[in-house]
Every structure is written in structure tokens, then in C-alpha cells.
Symmetry: C2
Subunit: 409 residues, 2 copies
């Protein structure tokens, strides 16, 4: 029997407890041993669960119990999750987490500690909910150098954008609906400002490039400034508007990492990923492009990814299979001014297409229904971000920038 403890009995934690209980037999067959949830740490009581007797409010009952081999951290947040996980690894317990903030901020430290102690620190559930991404990247694509990884990493913002695209809802109305349906939190900022997507692209980039990429190094834009006019121009350009996290290997040691809304051309598989679904595209030097797609959140999808990590650990006890990446002190992430992109602009003012082309070079001019006379929208050629900024400066007061969005390439 392999004894497991859960830290946190919220959405994910309760899902893990439920799956361990309901799928006991098939999990035993797959893991080669009985998986038993022995302790659950939560400050609340849950008297009506089938495992009501196993709750504790004292972390020490878990960390000091030598019979507990695997600890699931599903409390979220950085503290005290970090201290709890660290203490468990130090005691030689493997840890599984769904906490993206923890992995994005402390991944390198915890992975090194796990390796030292010959245990595992797994986090499949931290990106893409129930979609297998971390393990396929690590195990299945071992013969590839990953040159590029990008995707739709946040279901809430994708739901909002889908409603804006398909039903012409405004951002505010779509956000209210997402909150009503339980897809968005009361304070939606972590989702709509791109913070959640940023943590996830940091985890994927760290894994792809072998060095920790920290969220604070990543230029991050959310979707709250997106208007229905932008959506309409995107359609006119043959694109869908999505919030994209992306990381690319640049020449030299540097990489680019970015979270921002983007025009996604319809021939890109990501353009048709709607609602709360997520999709991640990897480009390996041997395999080419590979896409993973599915529900990026939700109780059981996420819990099933946690349980898969548990099964993997149970199948190979006493083996440290952890992926690793190193701590990075160097400035691995290149400055955003150096990234190359094509841009969509929407301008208001006395600026003709001819004048715009003089400033930006060859453009694709876009149009929409009921377009005001003093509005112009276009897509530029590819240029460094710094060039785009310089041109904006040169344009000065002649026109007001109502919208500026990158084109995914």
C-alpha cells in the first residue's frame, strides 16, 4: 500500500480524493499497488465525505509521518505551499502539485531538492489541466530540441474571447457571463491580465530551455483592452483573436517569452480552439509541430492529471524521474524591444493609408462595417518591437492608437 496525503481539499484536492476513492481498483492495477489517501490537511471540516475521519489541521501529522510516501499539494498560492512542499521533499517524500505559481516561481529549487533526496516533484496538472503536456514534453520528446512553444493556456480568457468573436458580446458582458458560469473568479485579474497564462508559459519555457524563466521577466498583456472593433478587424484579416503565451529559442543563449493577445491566422490549429479549451503547440527539431488540446481546467480533468503523476511515482518507487531545469541568474529572456512581430494597428485621426505606409512600410489595410471616416486599421510587416515603438513616436499626435495587437507567426 502506498500512503498519500493531500494538502488542501478545494476544487482540485477534493477531485483527487474522489478519484482515488472511486477508481481504487483500476488505479491499483495500473500502479501495481494500492493507492491510499491517508491524510488530508484542510482548515475546514468535511464531515460528509467518505474519508471524513482522515482530515487534519496539523501539517506536522503529514510531514512527520514516515509511512506517507507521496504528498499532493493542492492549496495554491506561494506561501505556505512552498514551505510545505520543501519540508515534504526534505523528509524524502515525493510531491505532486497543481500549483502553477509555485512551479513558476520555485521550480528550479524544488526540482534540485527532489533530485538530491532521490524523490520526485511532478506537476503535470499545473499546465493545461487534464491535457498531458509536461510529461510528453519531457519523456516523449526527449530526442527533440524544442525551439518554440506557444498556445492558448488560459480557459477563462479564451471563453471570453470566444463570446466576443461568436456572439459579439462586449468584454464586460462576456466577463460577467464567465463569472456567472464559474469560469472566472470574482477578482478576475489573474486570468484577464494574463498572469495565469504567464505562469504557465514560464513552466513550459523552463522545461523546454532547461533554465528557470521567472514570471517577472516576461512581458505580459491581458485582454481587457480588446474591443469588438478589434475582433471585427481580426475577422477581416482572416484571423481569430486569442490570448497567446509563447516562448522561442533565439540565436545565441537567449530566448523570447511573451504573453499577449494575438491575431491567429485561421490556418493555424489554435485559431479553432474555442471556449474553455486550451491548446499547446510545440516545435521540435526532429518531430516538427505537435499539438496538445483539451480542457485546460476543471475539477476532474485537473485531478486526473494529479492522479496520473501519483501513479507514475508509484510505478517506479525509489527512482528520481523528475524533469529538471536549472536556476538561472543570467538574463536568459531577451528584452522585448528585440522581438520581431507584425502588428495590427487601429488608429483615429487624420492619417491616410498613404501616410501610414510612409511611416510603417507596406501594409495590409483592413476594413469593417460602419467604419468611421477618421478610423484606419492595418497590419504591418514584421519588424522589431523597438521599430514599431519608434514609428509610433514619429507619428506623434497625428493619430490616436485605439488598438495595437501582435500577429502570431
Amino acid at each position: 500500500m502506498i500512503k498519500i496525503a493531500l494538502i488542501g481539499h478545494g476544487v482540485v484536492g477534493s477531485g483527487v480524493a474522489q478519484l482515488l476513492e472511486e477508481k481504487r481498483e483500476s488505479l491499483e492495477q495500473k500502479a501495481g499497488d494500492r493507492l491510499y489517501c491517508a491524510k488530508i490537511l484542510d482548515l475546514r471540516d468535511f464531515p460528509h465525505t467518505p474519508y471524513a475521519d482522515r482530515f487534519t489541521k496539523d501539517f506536522d501529522e503529514i510531514v512527520s509521518d514516515p509511512t506517507i510516501q507521496i504528498v499532493v499539494e493542492a492549496m495554491g498560492g506561494l506561501h505556505p505551499a512552498y514551505e510545505f512542499v520543501k519540508a515534504c521533499l526534505e523528509k524524502g517524500k515525493s510531491v505532486v502539485t497543481s500549483n502553477k505559481e509555485l512551479v513558476a516561481e520555485k521550480g528550479a529549487k524544488l526540482l534540485r531538492l527532489a533530485k538530491e533526496k532521490n524523490v520526485n516533484f511532478f506537476f503535470e496538472a499545473s499546465v493545461g489541466g487534464g491535457i498531458p503536456i509536461i510529461r510528453p514534453m519531457h519523456l516523449c520528446l526527449a530526442a527533440n530540441q524544442i525551439d518554440k512553444i506557444y498556445g492558448i493556456l488560459n480557459g477563462t480568457t479564451n471563453f471570453i474571447l470566444t463570446k466576443m468573436i461568436k456572439e459579439q458580446m462586449t468584454f464586460q458582458d462576456a466577463l460577467l457571463l464567465a463569472q456567472k458560469l464559474g469560469y472566472a473568479e470574482k477578482d478576475p485579474s489573474a486570468d484577464v491580465d494574463g498572469v495565469d497564462a504567464c505562469r504557465k508559459i514560464c513552466i513550459l519555457a523552463s522545461l523546454a530551455f532547461g533554465k528557470q524563466i521567472y514570471p517577472q521577466e516576461v512581458h505580459t498583456e491581458g485582454i481587457s483592452q480588446i474591443t469588438l472593433e478589434d475582433v471585427e478587424y481580426a475577422k477581416n484579416a482572416g484571423c481569430a483573436l486569442k490570448l497567446i503565451g509563447q516562448a522561442k529559442r533565439l540565436s545565441g543563449e537567449k530566448c523570447s517569452v511573451l504573453v499577449s493577445p494575438a491575431f491567429v491566422p485561421i490556418d493555424n490549429q489554435l485559431s479553432s480552439i474555442d471556449d474553455v479549451f486550451n491548446g499547446v503547440l510545440l516545435k521540435g527539431d526532429a518531430t516538427g509541430e505537435v499539438l496538445f488540446y483539451g480542457k485546460g481546467a476543471g475539477k476532474l480533468p485537473t485531478a486526473s492529471a494529479v492522479v496520473a503523476d501519483i501513479v507514475h511515482i508509484a510505478k517506479s518507487p525509489h527512482t528520481s524521474l523528475s524533469l529538471t531545469w536549472e536556476n538561472s541568474d543570467a538574463d536568459l529572456v531577451a528584452d522585448i524591444s528585440k522581438y520581431e512581430n507584425a502588428f495590427y494597428y487601429r488608429l483615429r485621426g487624420a492619417i491616410s493609408p498613404k501616410k501610414a505606409q510612409k511611416l510603417w512600410g507596406p501594409l495590409t489595410i483592413l476594413s469593417r462595417k460602419n467604419q468611421p471616416e477618421d478610423e484606419i486599421a492595418f497590419i504591418t510587416g514584421r519588424m522589431p518591437e523597438s521599430n514599431a515603438a519608434a514609428i509610433e513616436k514619429e507619428m506623434g499626435e497625428e493619430a490616436e492608437i485605439l488598438g495595437k495587437i501582435r500577429i502570431l507567426a
Copy 2:
């Protein structure tokens, strides 16, 4: 150092040798040990490779060498591949193969033997080329009961159908082009008749249901009867025409497994998978639908999947991590007459929409440009295959069936 032998230096085998050579350092880091290709069995000579000195024509030099731990079978075909793999497993060597015929026909036997000998038999490359599918299904979705698995499993037929859909090429012209580009073999029957897709769905179904499903149990239809008229009616119905392998868990112990062309509605992610790309959709009871997409064939994608298997074995020596399924004597696959489907029919003859509705029940009538007066095309409601057959019989000589294709649901 971990010594590896290759059986077969064809497309996949030479790709494996190339990756082991070119990516030596990064693989050593990932595997935790040097991966060294010590012997290559092939009847031909390859004097101009960097490892020309390691070729042999004698299988015994591999099977009897106790220092060789991992054998890669990349020769294809059932014999002598089966005998070679069996002999290697019996000697306690782990085996990695890309040979779908071998796995589809002999998987259960070889998996049991590997388990007995505490070694591994891996075959990630046998389905979907470089796309990680087998391992994610096995490891990442361990907490799921897989209820349904279906997809585009053959790149050659998908290339042909894409040319028919996007460029109105006839089947014959598209096949010739595929042969010219090296996507189709001189004798294209294994691809166009669905044999290759059948082997792959058998492997996926065996893994999903835990019992060996044999190709000869699976109703298999190819694409050689598909016409441009069918393609046009599919468009009119809001669908793309694809060759689909599918396996579903039915009530009781039975399952349905089928390979056939299908109308794929455009809101299904598979509908936009074009050219030589493959896509596999899984439905797990916890995770919901998950899609894997990428290049389903090609030298380096397939070889990179083989190398990933090698790395996985190298990381956990002395551990049998193999997935397993049992041999099945029982009739696990239900008779096709019991499967339920909606059907597209194209008929020629004196049959009115009203008469057709009388026979088939409520229909969606389809149309195309230049539709002859004596042609009718429609989509039926869902019904057992046996009902459809009975109605065809009832219709008798009134009309000739020019096309009949299932609708993917």
C-alpha cells in the same frame, strides 16, 4: 554506457542511428547515461555512414551479446521481426519497435513476455509517428477510463483526401501525386485500403480496453471508392471527408472498432487536420476530450519517438514499465451490424426525396452543382448498420447506390 542494437537500417532505423549520433550529448544528459549504438543488423552495407564498422548480417551477434541492453526493431513486417523481438526479450533485453503490424498482431504475447523477463517492450513510434500518443494514454491518462478513441491515423490517405477536397483532384491523380512525393508506396494498398489505419486503431483500442484487438476482427474500408461528388456533398453538409479509425466502449464487455471514410463535421477538431498530418482524439471519463496532433510519419519524427522510448528505458533500468493488455479469446469486438451511425447516401434512379424519407425516415437532403436529375443525396438519422442494410434491400432496384459513407458522431 548503455549499448543499443538496431535491427533494420531503413528509413526509421537510419533515423534512429542518426539521432543517437547527432544528439549524443543532450541524450546523455536526459538519459543519465551514454546511449551507444553498438550494432546494426542489415543485409545491405552502408560504408559511408559514420558507424559503418558496426554493421552485421548476423542476428546472433546481437541476441547473444549480453552487453546489449536495448534492441530497436525497425525492419517492419511480421516475420522474422516477431521471432527476433521474441528472442531478444527472452534474453532479457528491452525492445523498442516502430512496427505497427507486429504490435497489432503480437502485442499481448510480447508484452507478457517482457513483463515475465522484467524488461520493457515499447512502441510509441508505431502510432502517430512523432506524436506522443501511446505514453500519454498509458501514463498521463492513468486516472481515466478511456471510452472512445478515434482519429486520422494515416497520413497518406489524409494527403490524398486533402487534395481531393482543396484542389478537386480525383482520387487517382491525388494518389499519383502522393507516390511522386514519396508519401505513398508503389503498391499503395496498405494505405488506401485502410490496413495501416486498422493496425493503428487496434493498438490504441488494445491499450484503451486492456485486451488485444486483432486487425482481422475490425471492419475496414479504404478510400479508393471516394469520388469528387462525395467530397462536394460533404462540403454541402458542412463536413470534411476523412479516413477515420475509431474504437468505442459499448455497454457490457463489448466494444466497437471500425476503419472507414467518414463525414467529419467542421466543428470537430479533426476536420481541419490536413495533408500528411495525423490527429487522435481520446475521451476519458475524468479528462474529457483530448487531442494529439502532428506529423504522423517521416524519418526523423518517427525515429525521435523510438529514441524517446530508449531514453525512457535508460532512465529506469531494471524496471518493467511496460503498458500491458491481455490476450483475448472472447469476441470482444461487437459485430458491425450492431453499430449505430448516421449515413450519407448518394443514389441514382427514380427515387424522390419523399420516397427516400418513407424508406429511411427523416433526412437531410444535400445538393451539389450540376447535380443530375436522377441523382439524390442525403444524410439519414442514426440507426444500426443492420437497419441501413435492410432499408437498402427494401429499396431494391429502384435506385443504384453510388456512395454510402458514415457520419462521424
